[in-house]
């Protein structure tokens, strides 16, 4: 994290032969002292005030570090994680009931990782500036610490090997995506879609209703992934609909967006879970609780995505559309080929913020009795061997680390995507 302040200039510039190497917002480099001592003096001990602040904050940081180290390695009783319940945190308490083998689950995870790798590989282009070592470390280092911490709770070597294998699969996917011949590349969307469905099929043993037995991290990721990938198209369509000049489409879109944005997610989830039954006859076959939750989260997030995308749409100059018209392109082609690519590129930072917030919103499922990563903590803490013994800090620290690892990875991956697409530089 320390090099964070220095990475943006490296990320945005640094050797790309298309762009100017330094972004406009890069801080000018000050104090070109020589050697370690020179750098220290110029940056930390320049004058008395500066030195006092350095010593003061240095002491605070040192104190926090020592306390953290002491907690993690000495006082914390991690048996509430590794001594049995780890399975609950990862896949929930009912996963065994589905009869899905862990081999099958890992096959599904590998398929999903392969799809992610291909996706990142496709985004690669020769023109994008290469990453500096510092940026690369910051991107990989943080999540790596999180993953090592999580894996240190396992009792056999197998999960570690499998996770390392997943890294390999990600790399293979990236290479595949890069080297894809243009003919295949044109249909890459379908390939990714097929892989995603295959992954979902493997994870649920090709019986979607199995998802209702999921819990823990698995549930969080499945719901968040479904929410992100479904709310994106919903949001784009709603954003376009809101700009439509057609008399009925626009009010409908505005109604949907304003209605959903005006209601807390908890009340939507609650409605979808319990109140919806009032609308159906008692023996009606309505989707299981997790599907209902996914629908509600999609509707909720879709409204926010729509507004984000609308912001992106407005940033596309009118001249672009006029140019398209002048070329005789149809409105559909103009939107698809000219407006949307630019609008979506400009929306990336806000979109990622929305998706990170969606991932954490999934924890609200605990209100409606679904035990995702955060809710499963209560179940573990009610087990006879852990109940009322003050294991709360350890359990939440562990879960918090997982959340942080996920969110930080998302944020960094998005930053990388921004760099590749040149957001903010052209």
């Amino acid at each position: 994290m320390a090099q964070d302040g220095q990475t943006p200039p490296g990320l945005y510039g640094g050797g790309g032969h298309m762009h100017t190497p330094i972004a406009a917002d890069a801080p000018p480099r000050r104090g070109a002292g020589t050697g370690v001592r020179g750098v220290l003096r110029d940056n930390l001990f320049k004058d008395t005030k500066n030195s006092i602040l350095t010593v003061l904050f240095g002491a605070v940081i040192l104190f926090v570090l020592i306390k953290t180290f002491n907690y993690v390695f000495i006082t914390a009783r991690w048996e509430v994680i590794y001594n049995g319940p780890l399975e609950f945190y990862m896949v929930g308490k009912d996963f065994r009931r589905t009869g899905i083998s862990y081999e099958m689950l890992w096959a599904g995870i590998y398929t999903a990782v392969l799809a992610m790798g291909i996706g990142t590989g496709l985004g690669y282009n020769e023109e994008s500036p290469p990453m500096r070592l510092g940026a690369r470390l910051a991107m990989i280092g943080g999540p790596l610490v999180g993953i090592v911490f999580i894996l240190s709770m396992t009792r056999t070597i197998t999960p570690t090997l499998l996770t390392a294998g997943a890294g390999g699969v990600l790399w293979v996917g990236g290479q595949l995506g890069r080297r894809m011949p243009p003919v295949v590349r044109r249909r890459s969307g379908w390939i990714l879609l097929a892989l995603t469905f295959l992954a979902f099929g493997l994870i649920t043993n090709f019986t979607p209703s199995n998802i209702d037995e999921f819990g823990g991290l698995l549930l969080t990721i499945v719901v968040a992934f479904a929410g992100v990938s479904l709310s994106f198209p919903v949001g784009v369509i709603m954003a376009l609909a809101r700009r439509s000049t057609f008399p009925l489409i626009r009010p409908l879109a505005v109604g949907y967006i304003e209605l959903i944005r005006g209601v807390p997610l908890i009340s939507l989830l609650f409605m979808g879970q319990f109140a919806i039954r009032f609308l159906f006859p008692p023996d009606a076959n309505i989707p299981g609780p997790i599907f209902r939750a996914i629908i509600m989260i999609t509707l909720f997030s879709g409204a926010y995505v729509a507004e984000v995308v609308r912001g992106g749409l407005q940033s596309v100059p009118a001249g672009q559309i006029e140019a398209g018209k002048a070329l005789g392109l149809s409105p559909f082609t103009i939107t698809r080929q000219i407006v949307l690519p630019q609008a979506l590129r400009n929306s990336i930072p806000a979109l990622i913020g929305q998706f990170i917030s969606l991932l954490k919103d999934v924890s609200l499922l605990v209100i409606i009795g679904l035990q995702e990563l955060l809710g499963i903590v209560d179940v573990v803490l009610a087990r006879p061997e852990f109940v009322n013994q003050g294991y709360v800090p350890e359990a939440y620290a562990f879960v918090g680390t997982i959340y942080w690892t996920l969110c930080f990875s998302m944020s960094r991956a998005a930053q990388r995507l921004e760099t590749r697409l040149g957001v903010g530089t052209r």
């Binding site: 996963f95 879970q273 109140a275 039954r277 023996d283 149809s330 803490l381 003050g390």
Partner: protein, 372 residues
């Protein structure tokens, strides 16, 4: 040309949307018609009395034939706490155990002949009644207190009590509090959305002393608040306090005061009396079995008993209760045993004194009506 094509597409979409809305309207009005009429009737009744049958009809999903629904579905949907040791919690293998869970299993055994055919839903104190009203679950066995408003205004029906409890006060042993009367001006941890909240206020009010409530969401939060000294006392049902005391690290005492009556038992939706009877008599069967000396190990020896009362109990051909078979009591006892067995298996290990939770023959208040 292209523009026309787009317009035509939009027009088609628009008409599909209109059609869908129209159909949707039709469906909902069909379903809603009977409800709407009772709803309006209920509204006008609101002025004179609250809580009669008409008022609650539109609050609760039409109960329908719950028993047939359960048998067709092949599984009983049971709402439980899921996080309360002794009543319902999940063990290391992901299986539910506890007193409430055993009654879910007993109902499933009676109706489906399979105590494992239960789908458990973990419910919070806030969501439990809505889940039952809306029909998301068939029966709620979640250490819920039977009160008049829950029986009346909420549109629920409470079967025989399976555990008699009462709110108590837990304090640190070195705090010096001998009874609740000593606790003027203290901070009390209490769970939100429970009857305990109200009872605590009434009890302190009657004593003429004040307190400051610290609302907590679950027991895990109590543990941290209590160990950090954020609250001086913790109020919940005495069974909960006993399990807390048994597992908590520090030295704590449960004061003698019993601050309320908390009869805990299963609840069903109002309006399906057959299913309510099934749940009710499932509970009674565990009382009666204990009284007859029948337990899960020896029930088969009693099937051909000479004792007329026992014979009728185990092969009920006359009562007309909605159980699918006449040997329902045998199914229940084989699945979960009699009340004493259920108690010893779940509550006993927590070290909670039985108190009134034993048969009337041994000084308790559990009394099963005769099967006759």
């Amino acid at each position: 040309m292209r523009k026309h094509w787009t317009l035509r597409l939009l027009a088609v979409l628009f008409s599909i949307a209109l059609l869908a809305t129209a159909c949707g309207d039709d469906d909902s009005s069909d379903d809603a018609t009977p409800d709407d009429t009772t709803g309006t009737g209920g509204d006008s009744d609101d002025d004179d009395t609250g809580g009669d049958d008409d008022d609650t009809v539109d609050l609760v999903q039409d109960a329908g034939d719950t028993i047939q629904t359960i048998i067709d579905r092949g599984v009983l949907k049971c709402g439980v706490n899921g996080q309360l040791l002794g009543f319902s919690n999940v063990d290391a293998d992901g299986n539910y155990t506890g007193l409430d869970v055993d009654y879910c299993r007993a109902v499933a055994a009676a109706l489906l002949d399979d105590p494992d055919a239960v789908e458990y839903t973990d419910l919070t104190a806030e969501t439990r009644f809505t889940a039952l009203q809306s029909g998301d679950i068939d029966v709620l066995i979640r250490n819920g207190t039977w009160t008049s408003s829950r029986d009346g205004a909420l549109g629920l029906q409470w079967a025989a009590t399976t555990f008699y409890d009462g709110a108590g006060m837990l304090v640190n042993s070195d705090s010096g509090f001998g009874s609740v009367a000593d606790m003027d001006g203290t901070i009390i941890c209490v769970q939100t959305g429970t009857t305990t909240e109200i009872n605590l206020e009434i009890y302190f009010d009657n004593l003429g002393i004040s307190y400051e409530p610290l609302n907590v969401a679950d027991e895990a939060a109590v543990t941290s608040n209590f160990s950090s000294g954020a609250c001086d006392g913790y109020v919940t049902d005495k069974s909960g306090l006993a399990s807390f005391k048994a597992t908590y690290d520090g030295d704590v005492t449960i004061l003698d005061d019993t601050m309320s009556k908390e009869p805990l038992g299963p609840a069903t939706r109002e309006g399906d009396d057959d299913f309510f009877d099934v749940v009710q008599w499932t509970v009674f069967a565990t009382f009666n079995a204990e009284e007859f000396g029948i337990d899960s190990t020896n029930v088969q020896d009693f099937v051909d008993s000479d004792n007329g009362a026992i014979a009728k109990f185990l092969n009920d051909e006359e009562s007309g209760l909605a159980f699918p078979t006449t040997d329902w009591a045998v199914r229940i006892i084989e699945a979960v045993g009699n009340y004493q067995e259920i108690y010893d298996r779940n509550i006993g290990p927590l070290g909670i004194p039985e108190g009134v939770n034993q048969l009337y023959t041994t000084g308790g208040i559990l009394y099963g009506p005769p099967v006759n």
